[in-house]
């Protein structure tokens, strides 16, 4: 382009042709990479454009000169293409570099893996080969040792067999001799070489006939079939007949097949001879034993007869173990077990549970030797479950070659029972006497104590020793002494004579107690031989008797002196008892009234009324209290009668007991009170204000009509209400007034708004003022609290209205005041400005008037001077007035006053 010489375009022309080949190759190489393919397509397009641009600039240089070409180049389009091409190629290279790095990494990894695997496999192979080598070496070494061991064992066996005194040979199943011991060689006189391989059955080392040969052959065959054979054979050897014991032992292989036979021949000729002589001796001995046994059997038969037919139960038990070895008939009959059962049991089994342990304890070897024949009395259990007491005699024997014990049992149950009964009877009587509350004592004829029951000490306090030391005068009451002494004297005269005696006896505390009882002369009774005292302490009953007497006297006095009428009637209405008051009222003596009924003194109607109450009382299970009207001298009087039944021990009524009190006066007072109460209630009921009454604990009792009207609900609806527990009262602080009233003072509350809905009523809320009056009885106790309610709802509403009105008025006043203040301010401003404006002309008038006086004094006549002075004075006055007005306006509303 610069020179315009085409020689410089030579390389351009070549490059232009080559570049597309390279790009094409690049595309082929990256055919599997889509992003690179896109880039190469762009590169191809850009390269094409770049070449076109270059060609265009060359053409312009050639056709229109350098300036035009320069202008085209100056457009920088070519540079732009080139920059893009560079960027694209850089991207392609970067992408490929990344791929290259990745692939190199993979390659390194693969080579590393291969190397490691190679090393590991190689190591494995080496280890395996080493193991194999070691195994082979170990095997060869073990094998060598085993062979040596086998050889040594073989030698040992050979030595062992050689040392045996019997003829021993190893024979094959084909009856060939495989081995023989030295004894065989010595016995036959042949060498080992001569014997080995020869036939065992045909061998010339012994001489035998056809029968022996046959037996040996049969035995050998049997051994070859795997069965060991042992038998004795008489053989002619070295000129003498010897008894040989043959043993043919087959030796088996692991599969169970006979490998070879070990043949053994033992010379048992001397042994046989000894055996024969022994058999002879045994036969002789047997004969002797037989004879002896017969004798023993006879003797045993005799003893067995004694044992079996003994009337006492007997048995033999084995030691140790106590198993029954034999029992006699008496034992079987007495105990109920049959022989078989006995023989299957032990001595423990016929013992009750509680004695089993003791039996075992006492029958240990240590005790056995120490104990004698009599083993005491034991409890035995019969088959039917009854327990008997048996006295046991035991004797150690040898029974059927066993250590045993012969037992003889004597049943002593009845004897023991009788003894026990006797002991119990004695115990019972002793207990009876010892625990008796009565004194039982026995003295001799001199009244010396033989026996004294423990109750004597309990009652008198004296022990036997103390009692013995005391004389009769010290013991008996002086008043009773002579009586007691006389009885003690009289009783000795007649045997079996009994005396009843009641006297006072001094106790240890020094008081006298009453004793009552019998004295019996038993001196002639062989079993007793004494005087028997049976005394009872009756002090308490004596005291009770006295107390009863006193009580009866007291009751009688009360009944007689009572102002009430007291009487007892039979169930039929007849008077059984009456008091003095009864007689006084009817001016009759008691004798005239007792046994008579009410019908004898009163009219039929009155008597009927009394009788009816009596009947009601008789059937009632409690006392009845009723009023009764009784006509008397001063008119009909009212009595309050309390009547009850008197019952016997079985609870059956037998009389009616009554107390009637004259309540005529009290009745009158009560009527008056009732009338007063009615009036009072009526006033409350008619009271224009709501009134409510409460009990002293605050519970509502009643309310009046005004109350009902005010709250618009029934007075029954508030039953159970308690003013002291009213939550509204407590919350509003009114409970202070309530509590004050319930404490006994009159209380008046401030007006309050009460909401009945809070206690479950639907009446509207009302403003109330309450006044509480406590009502007290004569003792000053509060009996009732009266609440008077003042309904101030309308006042409250009026107050509320006035309040609202006042508030609106106040508001209006404030508004008016504000307006006034504003008007005043405006007025002030106006006054101030007007004053100022007025002063200005006045100053002018004064000024000009002064000029007239000073400058024209000679020209003015007196009148004119006077008028001038008047003008001036009035103007000054006017000025003063305005000044005052100004001052006034500055003072403001506060200055008005």
């Amino acid at each position: 382009v610069i020179t315009g010489d085409s020689i410089y375009l030579e390389h351009f022309t070549i490059a232009k042709d080559v570049v597309f080949n390279h790009i094409k190759k690049l595309k082929e190489l990256t055919i599997e990479n889509p992003s690179q393919q896109l880039r190469i397509d762009s590169l191809l397009s850009l390269t094409d454009k770049r070449i076109d641009f270059s060609l265009q600039s060359v053409a312009l240089r050639n056709e229109k000169g350098i300036e035009v070409a320069r202008e085209l180049v100056a457009t920088r389009q070519g540079k732009l293409y080139m920059d893009k091409i560079r960027a694209l190629i850089a991207d392609i290279q970067r992408d490929e570099n990344n791929v290259l790095i990745q692939r190199q990494r993979e390659n390194d990894k693969s080579i590393g893996s291969f190397n490691r695997s190679f090393f590991v496999f190689l190591t494995c192979i080496f280890i395996l080969l080493a193991v194999i080598l070691f195994s082979i070496r170990s095997y060869i070494s073990n094998r060598k040792k085993s062979e040596e061991l086998v050889l040594r064992q073989k030698q040992d066996i050979q030595d062992f067999i050689d040392s045996m005194s019997t003829l021993t040979a190893k024979v094959s199943t084909e009856s060939k001799l495989l081995m023989v011991n030295k004894t065989a060689l010595l016995a036959t006189g042949l060498s080992m070489e001569e014997l080995l391989g020869s036939n065992f059955l045909e061998g010339g080392w012994w001489t035998f006939d056809a029968k022996v040969h046959h037996r040996v052959s049969e035995a050998f065959k049997k051994a070859c079939s795997g069965i060991p054979v042992n038998y004795d054979e008489n053989i002619f050897v070295f000129g003498e007949v010897l008894t040989i014991n043959f043993s043919l032992i087959p030796i088996l292989k692991s599969e169970g097949i006979v490998d070879y036979i070990v043949a053994e021949g033992r010379d048992i000729t001397p042994q046989k001879k000894v055996e024969e002589s022994l058999a002879k001796l045994n036969a002789e001995l047997e004969q002797r034993v037989k004879e002896r046994t017969e004798k023993v059997y006879e003797s045993e038969k005799k003893y067995r007869h004694l044992f079996e037919n003994n009337p006492m139960p007997m048995w033999v038990i084995e030691l140790p173990g106590f198993r029954f070895l034999d029992v006699n008939k008496a034992a079987i009959m007495h105990y109920g077990y049959n022989r078989k059962e006995f023989l299957s049991m032990t001595a423990l089994d016929i013992r009750p549970v509680e004695e089993k342990k003791l039996f075992e304890e006492l029958n240990r070897p240590a005790h056995l030797s120490a104990s004698g024949l009599n083993r005491g009395v034991w409890k035995h259990l019969k088959k039917d479950g009854t327990i008997i007491h048996a006295e046991i005699f035991a004797h150690e024997i040898i029974f059927e070659d066993k250590t045993a014990r012969l037992i003889l049992s004597n049943d002593v149950t009845e004897k023991i029972k009788a003894e026990e009964k006797l002991v119990q009877s004695e115990k019972k009587f002793r207990n009876l006497i010892e625990n008796s509350t009565d004194i039982i004592s026995l003295t001799d004829k001199n009244y010396k104590t033989i026996y004294r029951s423990p109750s004597a000490e309990r009652i008198t306090g004296f022990t036997n020793e103390e009692r013995e030391k005391l004389s009769e005068t010290e013991l008996f009451h002086p008043d009773d002494l002579s009586k007691v002494q006389m009885v003690m004297k009289e009783i000795l005269k007649v045997p079996h004579k009994q005396f009843h005696l009641t006297y006072r006896h001094r106790n240890k505390a020094g008081h006298y107690i009453w004793l009552d009882g019998m004295m019996t002369n038993m001196l002639h009774d062989e079993n007793i031989k004494g005087i028997l005292f049976n005394l009872r302490d009756i002090t308490e009953s004596k005291q009770a008797e006295e107390a009863l007497q006193k009580s009866q006297q007291l009751l009688s006095a009360i009944i007689e002196n009572s102002t009430a009428v007291i009487y007892v009637k039979s169930l039929q209405g007849q008077y059984l008892l009456i008091n003095r008051r009864f007689c006084e009222l009817f001016h009759l003596d008691a004798e005239d009234i007792l046994g008579k009924t009410d019908y004898d003194f009163f009219s039929k109607e009155d008597a009927n009324a009394f009788r009816q109450m009596d009947v009601r009382t008789a059937v009632a299970d409690h006392a009845l209290t009723e009023e009764e009207k009784v006509p008397q001298d001063d008119g009909v009087r009212t009595y309050i009668s309390v009547k009850s039944t008197l019952r016997d021990n079985t609870g059956k009524p037998y009389a009616i007991f009554g107390i009637s009190t004259d309540i005529t006066e009290r009745k009158k007072v009560e009527d008056l009170l009732l009338a007063s109460e009615t009036r009072f209630r009526s006033i409350i009921e008619q009271f224009p204000y709501p009134v409510v009454t409460y009990t002293p604990d605050g519970t509502y009792t009643n309310a009046n009509e005004a109350w009902e009207k005010m709250w618009q609900y029934k007075r029954e609806d508030v039953k159970g209400y308690n003013i002291r527990k009213d939550p509204q009262m407590i919350a509003s602080g009114l409970s202070i007034h309530v509590e004050k009233a319930f404490a006994g003072e009159v209380a008046t509350s401030e007006p309050y708004l009460y909401d009945p809905s809070l206690i479950g009523h639907n009446s509207p809320k009302r403003w109330m003022q309450m006044t509480l009056y406590p009502l007290k009885n004569t003792d000053g106790e509060i009996v009732e609290v009266i609440l008077i309610l003042l309904d101030v709802t309308s006042n409250k509403e009026a107050e509320e209205k006035i309040k609202i009105l006042n508030e609106s008025l106040e508001k209006k006043v404030t508004e008016r005041t504000t307006q006034l203040e504003m008007a005043n301010k405006e007025m002030e401003a106006f006054t101030y400005s007007v004053s100022h404006d007025l002063r200005a002309p006045l100053r002018g008038i004064v000024g000009f008037t002064t000029i007239l006086e000073e400058d024209y004094t000679d020209k003015l006549d007196e009148e004119a001077k006077r008028i001038t002075t008047v003008i001036k004075d009035n103007t000054l006055k006017m000025g003063n007035l305005i000044d005052d007005l100004l001052a006034f306006s500055k003072m403001g509303p506060a200055g008005y006053y």
Binding site: V19, I51, S113
Partner: protein, 108 residues
């Protein structure tokens, strides 16, 4: 086989560890079982020898298989590297020729 498996990079590490431990335990159990004296005595020497050689041959076969596998993989990666280098060289050449076009045409 177990060791070869351990070196295959595609398998996750934990899976490799697990398989390795599992097969290791199985081999250990087998070894403990066959270590019983009565079993050890009942297996003849010839059998043991044969087993050992068989194990060696198996290891060699496995090794051969893995060798072929690794060789192929290595060849492939070499080829890929070479291919990438060719692409880079071709790109460089293209850039060089394009520069020639630019300079030879006389653009400023």
């Amino acid at each position: 086989m177990l060791i070869s498996f351990n070196f295959i990079s595609d398998t996750p590490t934990f899976v490799r560890l697990a398989v390795h431990a599992a097969i290791g335990f199985i081999i250990l159990s087998g070894a403990i079982y066959f270590a019983q004296p009565q079993l050890e005595n009942s297996i003849s020497f010839e059998r043991k020898l044969f087993t050992s050689f068989a194990a060696t041959i198996i290891v060699l076969i496995v090794f051969s298989v893995f060798s072929i596998f690794y060789s192929n993989r290595n060849v492939k990666t070499f080829e890929l590297i070479k291919h990438t280098n060719d692409v880079i060289n071709e790109a460089k050449e293209t850039l060089s020729i394009t520069k020639d076009i630019e300079s030879e045409a006389g653009d400023m």
